[in-house]
């Protein structure tokens, strides 16, 4: 929800998703090819600044969107740096020889994360799906993406309403009741999923949609220029990394 809100609020949502996708791809490649952790961190910092200043994503929202991935990354680096077991029993043991690989992995991952966040925080998902459609992604995958994205918000609303109704009748007074109420809510959602699937199928049929779900994305009148700018920026980024290396 946070990512979706940022993407729809960003002034860069009007920029061609192909241009932003190309630049993000170049940044991902740069993260992978960065010869040193320092350069990868520099790239990550540049991308973060670009997203905050250019795409106008508020810092708290950025940190909120990055937090889960940063948590996984911290866990991954810690598992490289520390070992459990050995002569000291189960106490964690620091591995100095893992410092280098952990720094490389951490810095590259941060840069890759920043590249992806740049793309998703400035591009609404329907635009990304439209881009994937242009790139000839299989229709069935696109249909699933469209429906999952739509249903995510429908069921978030149903879940929130159900939870509020339970709370209003003391369904969440205490841990045991709360657990029971959540179970009831989850069980209640299942038939609703089936019903909603049937209803959406009927709705699609009424508008002659008996095949793949086809939509027309908004047009981006300056897409060519933006793509050219993105290509130049991508080339500059990769060349810059090469020179600094």
């Amino acid at each position: 929800m946070l990512i979706d809100r940022c993407a729809h609020a960003s002034p860069w949502r009007r920029i061609s998703p192909a241009a932003k996708g190309l630049f993000a791809l170049a940044a991902l490649l740069g993260a992978y090819l960065a010869p040193s952790p320092g350069l990868a961190l520099g790239l990550a910092l540049g991308l973060v600044l670009l997203t905050l200043a250019g795409a106008r994503v508020p810092l708290p929202d950025y940190l909120g969107a990055a937090a889960p991935a940063l948590g996984f990354l911290a866990l991954g680096c810690a598992s490289l740096l520390f070992s459990l077991g050995g002569p000291g029993g189960l106490a964690p043991r620091f591995l100095p020889e893992a410092l280098d690989p952990a720094a490389r992995l951490g810095a590259r991952s941060l840069a890759a994360l920043a590249a992806l966040l740049f793309l998703v925080l400035s591009t609404p998902l329907p635009h990304l799906i439209a881009l994937l459609r242009q790139l000839r992604c299989p229709e069935v995958l696109l249909d699933l993406m469209v429906l999952c994205y739509r249903m995510l918000f429908v069921f978030a609303t149903v879940f929130r309403d159900g939870r509020t109704a339970q709370a209003a009748r003391l369904g969440h007074a205490g841990a045991r009741r709360s657990l029971r109420s959540l179970g009831l809510l989850a069980a209640g959602l299942l038939p609703q999923v089936w019903l909603r699937a049937l209803e959406l199928h009927q709705a699609a049929l009424l508008r002659l949609g008996d095949g793949p779900l086809r939509f027309l994305a908004p047009s981006f009148p300056r897409a060519r220029q933006e793509l050219a700018w993105a290509a130049a920026g991508s080339l500059g980024l990769l060349l810059g990394l090469g020179v600094l290396a």
């Binding site: 979706d4 949502r13 329907p126 739509r150 709705a203 508008r207 908004p218």
Partner: protein, 286 residues
């Protein structure tokens, strides 16, 4: 209500799989270019009737006809029908397939096989018609309930149907939204689109519709021009509907000799009639 019907239900019977009644010998006709309101209590069969109108349900007995021909329930027949008849569900969440306003409206015209330029033209026209031109870039989950309903209508309008079926379009709308919606309905009817809608709002139905259809327990009790409603009070009561407020008020004022016997269709019309009678009232206040 003479002349060839655009849509006709001829003694349609249908039961749902759980045994509950859908329609029972239900017969009614919709004239081309007319504004029609279905009135009836919950469970009367209003939604079921609308689903039959687009071939989503099939009668067990009786038949549904479009332009004098029985519906063809084959794939090609239904495709042809749904190019000409559009249905807007009561709950917009049931109808919106895409999370993007622009994309969702484009869904129908794309399925008609129209070229991209024409689809874009139709989407823009539909957005303009429902007053959502500024929302084209927004996600549907960011819209209000009323705006979602408008997106649903735009999605159907973009297919340029001849007959528009609306299931309780005013349900859940606040006062200003209802007024906007009524203006939209007025505009659509003005474009020559035949409209059939279900509603519980007898005041609105009397004010807006050309023809009223009263449903109860799966049957159509009566169809008549809306202007005849003052003379159909018994049928109205049988369909579980109250008399429009304006008629009660008019009756009292007419009994007092303040207004002529011809009843107005809306409070605005009644106020205008009172204003017209005001000079007389001033001359003869008693």
């Amino acid at each position: 209500m003479s002349g060839e019907a655009l849509l006709r239900f001829a003694a349609v019977c249908q039961r749902y799989e759980d045994g509950s009644r859908g329609l029972e010998e239900c017969s009614l006709s919709i004239r081309p270019g007319s504004r029609n309101a279905l009135l009836g209590p919950n469970g009367a069969g209003k939604t079921t009737l609308l689903l039959h109108g687009v071939g989503l349900l099939r009668p067990a007995r009786g038949q549904v006809e479009f332009q004098g021909r029985p519906l063809d329930y084959g794939r090609a027949g239904l495709r042809q029908l749904r190019q000409r008849v559009g249905l807007v569900f009561q709950n917009p969440e049931r109808q919106l397939l895409s999370a993007s306003v622009y994309e969702d409206i484009s869904f129908g015209p794309l399925n008609l096989g129209l070229p991209e330029a024409q689809v874009r033209q139709r989407v823009e026209a539909a957005l303009g018609a429902v007053g959502l031109a500024d929302c084209r870039e927004r996600a549907v989950h960011q819209l209000s309930f009323g705006q979602k309903k408008r997106v649903c209508i735009a999605g159907v309008l973009a297919m340029e149907p001849e007959l528009l079926l609306l299931d309780e379009p005013l349900a859940g709308l606040d006062g200003p939204m209802r007024r906007e919606f009524e203006a939209l309905l007025e505009q659509l009817a003005g474009q020559g689109i035949t409209i059939l809608l279900s509603t519980h709002d007898v005041d609105f139905a009397y004010r807006w519709a050309d023809d009223l259809h009263l449903l109860a327990e799966g049957r159509c009790l009566a169809s008549f021009p809306a202007r005849e409603l003052p003379r159909q009070q018994a049928l109205l009561a049988a369909a579980g509907q109250a008399l429009p407020a304006v008629l009660g008020l008019h009756r009292r004022l007419a009994d007092l000799g303040l207004l002529p016997d011809e009843p107005p269709r809306s409070l605005d019309a009644l106020l205008a009639a009172l204003d017209g009678a005001a000079p007389d009232l001033k001359r003869n206040p008693a």
